[in-house]
Symmetry: C2
Subunit: 502 residues, 2 copies
């Protein structure tokens, strides 16, 4: 049996450090020599590839195509949308030279100054907009529905693996429409794709809603978002879909001849999710034993661990493992073959087992000579306490159902956690108490999400912000009830979600 705790420290002892240790122990990623840039290791990258695969299918099913645009943005493009440049100017990697030359001491120096500095894209509205302006002439050219999978750079001062890194991987959808209505429909449609993906694939419950003016994407008319609760009860913005109105179209000159033959400015949207989702997945599902992968996106569903106590058993045990793996792979889960791997490394089975617990593989199947003799398997299900014995045939036949159950249970557990730490609060003293850490040693542990009335005023929002509490969203889901702002007592049209956040 595993000891009670495999990750040091536990969540309870030191949540931020626990997170780093889970990422390390699961071999997802590590810091590189370049400030704020991470190395995504094979197990982490395979997770990202699975996530990307699912999202890509969803984007295609909603009519989008992939394309690829330049990494660099000329400074003059970037300047075109005032709010946009203001939002990103503080965290840009700027390319200024295009050559290196040795100085007198043989030390390399940048030379060859560029006529115009280039920004490494933090997001691509402006460079893509310049291209779209050329593509769009007539309403017949619309809509344009394009997505890009790319790396982007935001020179953040404080970084944390997956959650906030200088370089990250993401997708950015950029669409152009004939009418405001269509652009709004697109904005909502893609938010719904994100909700579906987060909840049904990552098993991560999210609230959907609109950001306040203060929390909007720089240059957007409206920003919709999905917000998830992490195990330290903080919120994570997990995806955003922006209705850009005509702001960027005007800045880039995306105009078209409408059905009446008149020139009009187009309506655009953009929407993105990133490797940040991996941080969300970890902080939703990992426990004090390490990561727990939702089966639908797990790089492997099953690891088979041969237990060889004597050299004489080796051939027999390995042959049985091989056969079991082949039969498992013939099973269909979630529309494709079950993913099973055999770990043949020459390590103690305890060490191997623990490594896979920490990596979060859904099912660990231990096979020793005794199992071979009785045609059985001994299975650890990652979200259950105890290992269980099965007849091999039963286990193989039931694998898809076991995985589906685990996926469902993980979502239910996360939903319960969120419900347990979400409260409707109408009293300011209670509100402040809710967000006050109960223990000075663990400043991160507080109440969770407060659903409270807000008058819509910036002053009251800033009162929350001063306590490091932000309005995560004005939720779509909540039934709109009338009440009084928790800060100022003025009338409010509905509760909003207050939380501390990443």
């Amino acid at each position: 049996m595993p000891p009670a705790t495999a990750i040091t420290p536990t969540r309870e002892q030191d949540y931020p450090e626990w997170y780093q240790q889970v990422v390390r122990a699961a071999e997802l990623a590590e810091n590189s020599a370049v400030r704020g840039c991470m190395v995504i290791k094979p197990w982490g990258y395979a997770l990202w590839e699975n996530m990307r695969g699912v999202l890509d299918k969803m984007f295609r099913a909603t009519g989008h195509q992939n394309a690829y645009f330049p990494l660099f943005i000329p400074l003059s493009f970037f300047e075109k949308e005032a709010a946009h440049v203001e939002g990103f100017a503080k965290e840009c990697a700027v390319v200024t030279h295009h050559r290196l030359e040795a100085d007198g001491n043989g030390k390399l120096k940048p030379v060859g100054v560029l006529d115009e500095p280039l920004i490494v894209r933090p997001t691509s509205e402006t460079i893509i907009g310049a291209t779209y302006a050329k593509w769009v002439q007539s309403y017949r050219d619309l809509p344009i529905l394009i997505n890009q999978w790319a790396n982007v750079v935001r020179w953040e001062m404080r970084t944390r693996l997956f959650l906030r890194t200088a370089e990250f991987l993401w997708q950015e959808g950029h669409t152009v429409h004939e009418t405001e209505k269509e652009a709004w429909e697109e904005t909502r449609r893609m938010l719904e794709v994100y909700r579906d993906f987060a909840e049904n694939y990552l098993a991560m419950p999210v609230l959907t809603g609109e950001k306040t003016a203060g929390e909007r994407f720089p240059g957007a008319v409206a920003t919709l978002c999905i917000e998830a609760m992490m195990q330290d009860r903080k919120a994570l913005q997990a995806g955003t879909s922006h209705f850009l109105g005509q702001n960027f179209a005007r800045a880039s000159g995306i105009q078209f001849q409408n059905r009446e033959g008149k020139i009009e400015t187009a309506w655009t949207t953009s929407w993105g999710v990133s490797t940040r989702l991996i941080g969300g997945l970890i902080m939703t599902h990992a426990d004090d034993n390490g990561l727990m992968m939702p089966p639908r996106v797990a790089p492997e569903h099953i690891v088979i661990l041969p237990i060889i106590r004597a050299d004489a058993d080796r051939e027999k045990v390995l042959a049985y493992c091989e056969e079991t793996a082949a039969r498992l792979r013939a099973q269909i889960y979630d529309g494709a073959s079950v993913r099973a791997v055999i770990d043949r490394r020459d390590l103690s089975s305890g060490d191997k087992g623990w490594q896979w617990v920490k990596k979060g593989v859904p099912l660990r199947v231990e096979i020793g000579l005794r199992d071979v003799e009785k045609d059985g398997v001994f299975v650890g299900i990652r979200n259950r306490e105890k290992k269980e014995g099965f007849s091999r045939a039963e286990f193989i036949a039931r694998t898809p159902e076991i995985l589906a159950t685990m996926q469902r249970e993980m979502f239910a557990a996360a939903k319960k956690f969120r419900a347990d730490h979400t409260r409707e609060i109408d009293d300011l003293a209670e509100f402040e108490q809710f967000f006050t850490p109960q223990n000075a040693d663990k400043p991160e542990i507080h109440g969770g999400f407060a659903l409270s009335y807000w008058c819509g005023g910036a002053a009251c929002e800033q009162r929350a912000n001063a306590q490091k509490i932000t309005i995560r969203c004005i939720p779509f889901a909540a039934e709109k009830t009338a009440g009084k702002c928790v800060f100022c007592g003025q009338p409010s049209g509905g509760r909003v979600v207050f939380a501390k956040a990443y």
Copy 2:
């Protein structure tokens, strides 16, 4: 029937301009506002995704995993391998600042100077090497077999879509081995993967061999390559696999405890292909009517073109098209469903047909009321002159075979072209004549590949280089025969491939 020529100019009239026009007409890519950086349009990107999908499977089948490393390389890392930095210093995008600030006139300027300039990766040996140095402790950690799909930047002065761009997409494999022998095996294995991919998927015949010292990757001990002949008879280096010896391992400090308990320096390889392959595909297969896609990597295998002459026919014709598409998609070609799309746009069928010819879709299926009535289809096969009528059932049943035949014929045609323009030449006057354009108006049209003896000396290689002729490779395939160097008459151990090149 199409007119004789759809791309203006023809290959004969102006080959370089014909290339640009094919890329444009096929909607593969276009230049962006950023010098040398291209926009890869949906049809071009879908081709790249298919190519990537095939290569990715081949890499997995040979034991590799994907991972992701930082975009930026600290200048000090880059300097560690002397030949390497010398090879890339002249074409680096250098990040020097991390913020923008408005000056007195409200103009944005880069501020926040980085302590150390960062190079946007032109290739990742040094940054990946630094990570591997941490991962490798013991021979038990070897081999490391990792591939990365990424964008890279080389600040080329003269750029051409796909063939030479400042930013391009590629994969770079980086492996670490215990022994020289294993690293050499890996280097050769991956070259063979590239040959297989180029010939059997892109239908692009390639010569395989080793580069001369003068043409090696900066820092490599040996560079192996695949070389293809374009329709202007110039060579295109289409992929390289480098045996890096211990050069980069030494520079990065990749050391391990060997089986005898001693510390040793590891052996590394790297290998890559890029979006340049798309340029190769175009210049191997496109004709004066536009692109021709090899079926195995074509974004769509079939376009169905409804021909609606009267509104009354519309429903009937479209229903028949739908049913045909569904039945085609149920056919299996190359291990997956046939990819078929219906082009319902409200354009004349002539215009639509031409657009798809230029885009190079393998099969165009025209369906009008007459076809519906006789349960037939009228099919244009992209590498045949004339369209053919089929009964619908026959066409659907034969589609996989028609596609396979087309793939085979495209390869055979390209092989014949190469054979027709490759000559064994032992006489210097003939050699020079072979590379002399026959027509001053078309400086690019010359003999092709000359297989000639070379003494191995740099002086003779430079004599060729002075005429813009390079040694493309010292081929593996040729039987080694003894002869005399075509330049100096000294003894030579075998013929090498001389050509003008991209």
